[in-house]
Symmetry: none
């Protein structure tokens, strides 16, 4: 089934709050076979809510709202929807009793008068109990079977009501409408070290092969993710087709692919070093600690990762890592010679089989005609095997550093021949 998502809140439009509810609802609904056709955000104004709900009901036949169910004056979702559907607001005794109990337990007695309004519900609405807060969810169908679901905007409360009350009802509704619910499922093939356009050339024609599944290119500083989505298919069919499509996409992407879905390149590299019973040390200049941070973000990194040297000043490169001062003088700190010696230094200092080194110019200043901002030298070492690589990354300081760390990890992955 399809529905529209309506998130209500002036602070969302003003950008004081990032709408994380929308993303969370998108994932949860897709997995339950419900497709969000359109997502709309409007301010806390009754007229804006009323017209948006009316349009969504006309177009999609179902709408899920979040926000505007609280006790204060700017909470008008319930009133606006009741008015639109021609229902009066009536006091729900059980709700009122529950609210009063809640305030008594929390030692906030008497209950403020404003909270009484939260026990008023549109005639004919089903109350979805909210043990995490004072605003219950509401489920309403009009005479034509069109559906309005209202949830509070507080993420923790929204999530609880969604999982415990809304999803089971939506799945049951789809089953009544005939058969197991069709689902929207995705798989993501993660690639790095290849630009989006070059990847598109390798993948030419695959979109036709995997149809009706769709393929989306999602570039970021970590590389290009390829998201394959099966839309509105029975779960078993969707899973089978996704497995086949992911296999085709992986084959085309070749060794630029390092994993699927949530795979983290740092974890892939740690696993590869672990399989060789090796250990890993790093020496980093322009990334300033980011490479170590990426590796140690992975729980259990400590059996493989020994440590790192952040060799920001050139003196640290020479004193701690043993890069000869003449090398820095002759070739510069950002050079193939320097990065190879940094990697060898990390192997020695940390007594590690594997090492990574990064040195570059992250900007905004420090670039030259010969070595512009974005120039980064990378080296990966595994025992006697060493690979060095120069890249010129686009973007600002942060992006260059993040691309540098990712490219360093990728260099060692390829050297070790890991997935």
């Amino acid at each position: 089934m399809k529905l529209d998502l309506l998130t209500v809140g002036t602070e969302l439009l003003l950008g004081h709050t990032v709408d994380t509810n929308a993303a969370e609802l998108g994932r949860a609904l897709a997995a339950a076979g419900v497709e969000i056709d359109r997502h709309i955000t409007v301010a806390d104004r009754a007229d804006a809510i009323r017209s948006a709900v009316a349009e969504s009901l006309a177009r999609a036949g179902a709408v899920l709202t979040t926000g505007g169910l609280g006790p204060t004056r700017d909470d008008v979702t319930k009133t606006a929807v009741a008015e639109l559907l021609g229902r009066a607001l009536v006091l729900d005794d059980a709700l009122l009793h529950g609210l009063e109990e809640r305030f008594r337990t929390l030692g906030r007695w008497p209950m403020p008068e404003v909270n009484r309004s939260q026990a008023m519900i549109p005639e004919g609405a089903t109350v979805l109990p909210n043990p995490r807060g004072t605003a219950p969810g509401l489920w309403m169908e009009d005479e034509r079977g069109r559906l309005v679901m209202m949830l509070p905007g507080v993420p923790r409360e929204m999530r609880g009501l969604l999982v415990e009350e809304v999803l089971p009802r939506l799945v049951a509704r789809q089953q009544r409408a005939g058969g197991a619910p069709a689902v929207v499922l995705s798989r993501t093939v993660r690639t790095t070290g290849i630009p989006e356009s070059a990847l598109a050339e390798r993948l030419a024609g695959v979109e036709e092969e995997i149809a009706p599944l769709t393929l989306a290119y999602l570039p970021s500083v970590d590389g290009v993710d390829l998201r394959i989505t099966a839309w509105s298919l029975p779960r078993e069919d969707a899973e089978r087709r996704l497995a086949d499509a992911a296999e085709r996409v992986r084959t085309r992407a070749g060794d630029h692919c390092y994993g699927e879905d949530g795979a983290d390149l740092a974890a892939v590299v740690l696993d590869a070093v672990r399989r060789r019973r090796g250990r890993l040390g790093v020496a980093e200049s322009c990334t300033g600690g980011l490479l170590g941070e990426r590796l140690t973000a992975i729980p259990g990194a400590s059996d493989v990762f020994v440590g790192g040297v952040v060799a920001y000043a050139n003196g640290v490169k020479t004193d701690l890592l043993g890069v000869a001062p003449e090398i820095v003088e002759r070739h510069g700190a950002v050079s193939e010679e320097a990065v190879r010696l940094m990697a060898a230094g990390a192997q020695r200092v940390f007594n590690a089989y594997c090492a990574l080194a990064v040195t570059g110019i992250a900007g905004p200043t420090g670039g030259t005609a010969e070595k512009p901002v974005g120039t980064v030298w990378l080296a990966a070492a595994a025992g006697e095997h060493v690979r060095a690589l120069k890249r010129i990354f686009p973007g600002d300081r942060e992006e260059i550093r993040r691309r540098g760390a990712q490219a360093a990890l990728d260099l060692l992955r390829r050297l070790l021949g890991a997935a």
Copy 2:
């Protein structure tokens, strides 16, 4: 003026991406006196984009889109809008030339054929140059003066085009329409090292003092930000009231305040060390490089920050930093004794007046009854002066590490008596 915001992307509806662009656009447009009337998200489908743009033009008279301008087949925003407005797509020679230059400079030559499509623009559209990427922004008006602005979805590119191209044009358009716009402006006072509830006690009554401006508490792993907002006031009045309110809030927050708005604690600390003509080295265990990363993320860090040792394995703490093995054996690697010696080691190794050290248990495993997950020892040194501090942080591995790095920076800020 009012406009609708249309963010395009199937991955947004599926919840694979959180829509941070919408919040950023909301803030920037509000500050320029432009109100977002409605925010709509649709999938990467030409029909969905076309009908949403048509509805927004009918309702609001202006729409700003993000996303769907890339080179691949799922990028259809430009085509859909051109079709809606009855414009043909034509090749823009200057754009094509710029694209080719860009690919040549980055050493990716020849340019892939797919990127050629990015030089095609709807007839009559104004090209908004995008130096940060391959997709230009587009500005189109129809014969009735209704406005469509198209920006890429990559946040960095969107942001640059917004600030450099879109906002100046929108402000000029409003001025032509008569009068300077009323604005929504905010200032943020940043605090750290004090819990939200304790801060609220210090600030009791300030909300009444600053009315009609509002105060919001925004807690994060970096501390609690205090956002003061002036709503729909003439710019001069808003700025004067904000300055007064920020002063009041800063005075109440005392030395827990480390800056305003975009202030980064790492930059504050670097400035403090720089003012003393000192240099800074770090020794970090559980943060694994994050502290170095925070410091080197600040442009120009290199005149103060020398380098760091990521002492993840205990052997690195003893060999590189000179922490006596007996100390680790007797007190543990997470102890006051160890963290003080790590800081002294960093001062010595990097020949630096100032040093920071962190050692802790970030989890998910490794905690004990005596030292639970979240236990972090911090030390800051400035010459002979050394301060050590134990904190027990809540949260998961990432949160504990981020809180640890921030608390370490804050310890040195307080030791140096910096704003």
